[in-house]
Symmetry: D2
Subunit: 291 residues, 4 copies
Amino acid sequence: MDIAFLGLGTMGAPMARNLLKAGHTVHVWNRSPQAREALLQDGAHACDAPLDAAVAPVVLSMLADDAAVAEVIVDSGLLDALPEGAVHVNLATVSVAYARALAERHAARGVDYVAAPVVGRVDVAAAGKLNILAGGKAAAIERVQPLLDVLGARTWRFGEAPEQANAVKLATNFCLASAIGTMAEASALVRGHAVAPADFLEMLTSTVFAAPAYQGYGGLIAREQYTPAGFKMTLGLKDVRLALTAGEATQVPMPLASTLRDGLLEGIAQGDGALDWAALAKVSARRAGQQ
Amino acid sequence: MDIAFLGLGTMGAPMARNLLKAGHTVHVWNRSPQAREALLQDGAHACDAPLDAAVAPVVLSMLADDAAVAEVIVDSGLLDALPEGAVHVNLATVSVAYARALAERHAARGVDYVAAPVVGRVDVAAAGKLNILAGGKAAAIERVQPLLDVLGARTWRFGEAPEQANAVKLATNFCLASAIGTMAEASALVRGHAVAPADFLEMLTSTVFAAPAYQGYGGLIAREQYTPAGFKMTLGLKDVRLALTAGEATQVPMPLASTLRDGLLEGIAQGDGALDWAALAKVSARRAGQQ
Amino acid sequence: MDIAFLGLGTMGAPMARNLLKAGHTVHVWNRSPQAREALLQDGAHACDAPLDAAVAPVVLSMLADDAAVAEVIVDSGLLDALPEGAVHVNLATVSVAYARALAERHAARGVDYVAAPVVGRVDVAAAGKLNILAGGKAAAIERVQPLLDVLGARTWRFGEAPEQANAVKLATNFCLASAIGTMAEASALVRGHAVAPADFLEMLTSTVFAAPAYQGYGGLIAREQYTPAGFKMTLGLKDVRLALTAGEATQVPMPLASTLRDGLLEGIAQGDGALDWAALAKVSARRAGQQ
Amino acid sequence: MDIAFLGLGTMGAPMARNLLKAGHTVHVWNRSPQAREALLQDGAHACDAPLDAAVAPVVLSMLADDAAVAEVIVDSGLLDALPEGAVHVNLATVSVAYARALAERHAARGVDYVAAPVVGRVDVAAAGKLNILAGGKAAAIERVQPLLDVLGARTWRFGEAPEQANAVKLATNFCLASAIGTMAEASALVRGHAVAPADFLEMLTSTVFAAPAYQGYGGLIAREQYTPAGFKMTLGLKDVRLALTAGEATQVPMPLASTLRDGLLEGIAQGDGALDWAALAKVSARRAGQQ
């Protein structure tokens, strides 16, 4: 398939590479051109500007946030330049409100819009084992399903409105934040009783909480290893805030999310914004006077 | 081994049966005598009062809470009647403060005290696959290890002070409460965006949260199946309160636990105290005006 | 002084009238023209569009929110049409971020910008006894001080940056929300012990909490009188959210504000968004199963 | 009237002195005898042990907490020694549960029990201007009303069950905690925007929040003057915990109280437990990275 891929960050680059490996023709763009060099050597075609991506009838993007999507997809002129009948697959975590606005904008242009935020970190992306949360018209999703099958282990569909997939993604990231924050408080509790958090977490994540989320973040907390950050506290704050906003839009109070937001903000205020959000454990320890 | 087992409730009965099956001589007592009938038919010996348990040098108890332990073990005269060198294994979830007091009281009597609260629900107990969180002197634990091996898949040791195991148990139950409360809020969020919670939870618990805790409680929430209660909201409130109290004892603030306490209390105030604590999902839904 | 006044809602109308009574020449505009009739009969001059307000070198506005200010002051062309050296006094509660943006925009046009959000409800506005929280260049504030003296009992200055006054206003409204939410929880607590909230609140607001905020809202709670709304729950939610956002901008966690936000959102979800925000007392009572 | 007064701490001593000045015969007891010296010189009679207070038909006590009341009134043998028809006025803040238990115990002995916790700090006590929250049988309260009139500006009655007055007292102290915590967060918010908290608080407590609670604690926060403590953070934590427990007893969730509990606990964990509870402002500032 002839496709364009915009956004070659830590997640986007391995995803684009997998598409290339699978035999697709891939046109790549990234804000800083050096990120695309390796891909070009492997056979990707260079786009010098987002607008150049209009050559492909299928555009995938993996951009940082609402503002980046607005700039690269809309303000660049790309959306207006896409041929009618094209499809845009937005793999990023964006706000529900912006997802809805984007969907309307694409519809007005006659371009299909598929929200396809992903669950999984860099290594999972590289292995092509992501879980993909898809929202959008069934026909549009089916059209790009071969591409999604390259990127992920499984595609989960959550409705005809693209923003439904974004709501599910934000709900999932809230669950991750809560898992971290919960292990953080629980670790402070057992430390207060002279039990090493690592011992507690080993038991916890080998038994009733033997899941990737707990094992991954529990390991970071046990080792107090918050750098390099897989996902920064500042990004965590952003996503929890987006979950709260998505809740507010449909009048869903989320007091646990509020508490997590306050904790992430506190960690950032202490200067730890660039650490992995597992550093919520530092916040809990500091509150308890344990460091 | 010649042992006594006090407390034949939904958890205690299958544990006592497993000990019997493993060839031990088991003297059993329960507040309501009918609970022991089946065990007596299988070869257990009857104790008509807790004090009768003093015939065995090893006493295990699985009682409801601090008050029940105080009544059955201490006020009954049993502790005073145990021979010096006996060992008492307390399998129940009690408060950290009472665990410490009990340990002192046993020490004063020359009786070894092992805290061994368990992780796992009834079916796990019946299968002898519990995870046992042990606290106490190493020699005492080793002495009863053959019994713990009958009851559980693995024994995790958390320190020489018995109450350390209770702190870990309360931390674990707090993590369970948080997992439930988190799925409750996340489910309300996605429902607000017209996504069925069951669809969201299936994805969540098949991927990054594929752990028994999430799968079990996620299933109950997906099916809105809160009765029969595996663990009632009132018991959940008790355990979260004990976790908060254990935190306060060593100056560990736990704002997520506070939020969960408020949610459980709200559910109980709405008349749902006898439902499974997975009914925190009803609290989140009600707050959002979804029911 | 020759002035224009835009926004003749429940607060704006009595303020404009007071300026008229004090002998100033007042050009008035309002979205729905009927609101200006009474003022025109009293001698005010009509503006048919916001742009008409450019005739006056001093413009005051009392508009609903950020969006209304953007539409009426900026998008209408008014700001661009104002003569260099004019001054705009924004009496409304807007977000800190938008206040900053507005200040920059005015500066670029050579128009002075004074933020002057007010504390006090309609009757206080009518009596010309508002407390005015002023932010902006000293010279600009002094220039409009005679007008502020007509509107308020006192002008409090909070800095050269206009948005500082907005931060203080949001902090004040947060304090009001907290006073209400606190009386709500305390009333539920005493009701749970068979004490009438009215009796408790009479004592409270006659003694250590004998302040207008507590007496006013305490009275509403005691009488369960939530309509007509002096300030709707939806507006309360907006202002608490703005306070949280202003906090986030400078990394200030505000967990009490988060809790209040969740309570207001819950009340709105229950269908009470149009009630006075004193109806937080209904939220607390409902959570406790008291209604 | 012939009365005994037990507990001559910072609050009790001036109260006993006022009773003495008013012409009553006062028998005084205190744990550390030096506290009673000044009162003896002024004409009070010494009790060497709590039991000696049984000489008076009216006993007032102002003791630290549940445990102190239990020790001094019950375990000392005083309650058993009081003549039938005597009355005990408990001026202290105790838990609702213990208040109820005490009332039953007094009733069994034929001794009237009046709960009369007071609102006001030391200077108010010295001026005889306390607000007294009375619970108990009307006849019993009327009997001691002449004494309460000496101690306070006004007696507020809250029901026939003594613990109702304790519930009101705990609700009042929760309101104080919330006022402090709210000013703490609001001060951090304005400081984040370069407004001095003292400037903000002066405005706040001169206008809508012009009440003793806000002016007193607002002044402490403005001056960052947390020592000497009028009321320590540790005592504040105790009272907020008692309010939460009193709420739990009748299924009243109090999320603002939970948040305040966490904040007080955090302050204590940071080593500030002996500071005035106005030091919640330090907690908010620290969370925001402002110190």
